[in-house]
Symmetry: C2
Subunit: 157 residues, 2 copies
Amino acid sequence: MEPPALLWSVDNCTIARAMAIIGDKWTFVVLRDVFQGIHRFDQMRVRTGIPRQVLTNRLDRLVAEGLLRREPYREEGSRTRTEYRLTDKGLDLYPVLVAILAWGDRYLADPEGSPIELVHRDCGAPVHAPLNCTAGHEVKSPREIAPRPGPGARRRV
Amino acid sequence: MEPPALLWSVDNCTIARAMAIIGDKWTFVVLRDVFQGIHRFDQMRVRTGIPRQVLTNRLDRLVAEGLLRREPYREEGSRTRTEYRLTDKGLDLYPVLVAILAWGDRYLADPEGSPIELVHRDCGAPVHAPLNCTAGHEVKSPREIAPRPGPGARRRV
DNA sequence: TTGCTGGGTCTGTCAATAAGACCTAGCCTG
DNA sequence: CAGGCTAGGTCTTATTGACAGACCCAGCAA
């Protein structure tokens, strides 16, 4: 019983392409901070504990990939410096962050619970990213989901 | 204007802990295949192009972390071999995969579109993971979301 | 002119990845 | 019962990346 997936090429797989950009230990830790309003090199460094050089590399890559942009700022009595802000492409990673946080909270949190909660600014209720289908059904288990070839699918050679 | 996030410790951050497990270039590529019904070493290797040793390491780690389990199987005329199957902890990463796929499809797909679609097995409609809050509101933009300290939050020293 | 500060670079060490050859347990066939 | 086949791995070597810590540097203020 050959799995049908074996018939299809994966060389244009968007998951693999995404992981080439965001697939490392630190990127989401950086994004977590930026999403939380931390935009400056040294603040990130202190919070995350990332080695300077690695943080420099990550920020450079995130800027090169268009997830962050550099923005000059000038504080009273200091010279102009740069801070890092999310682009739309970066902001659109928020659902991924929410999903990772949900998983981490479930399996990796201390007994007291998660140190971070994400709430809807207006109503104060927690935010989640539940699976559902566009027909409006709630998807209770991943087993209800079937993968199938999309418009960009190519047969394997 | 100090960002309030700076007051809080991040040493028990569940995002960082999650990234220590799943934060690398290959893990989600492996999980993608397992979710698609590919459970055997060589099939994964051919599809993903991962170097053998790295695939061995990843599978070992995923088993050690309890996301996959080894299952012996026996095919007609062959000796017993092992295949890799998702545990509940691994299955629960599905929403993360869905979110990554959505982002990748939006920003990284070829012009023809994504090679993979995930559909609801019963109704055939595409599956997504939209953000919403537990009060039932749809969250249209990440800007509507505010982070706040959770039950496990600790002040920085 | 000296010092402070944020955002870096330089250097050296060690761990992870990549590529490719080699190994091994058991089943089958000659 | 020798030899080949196969899935699921090791072994070796070269290259890249992570890490730690020292150092640098522009410009504002005292």
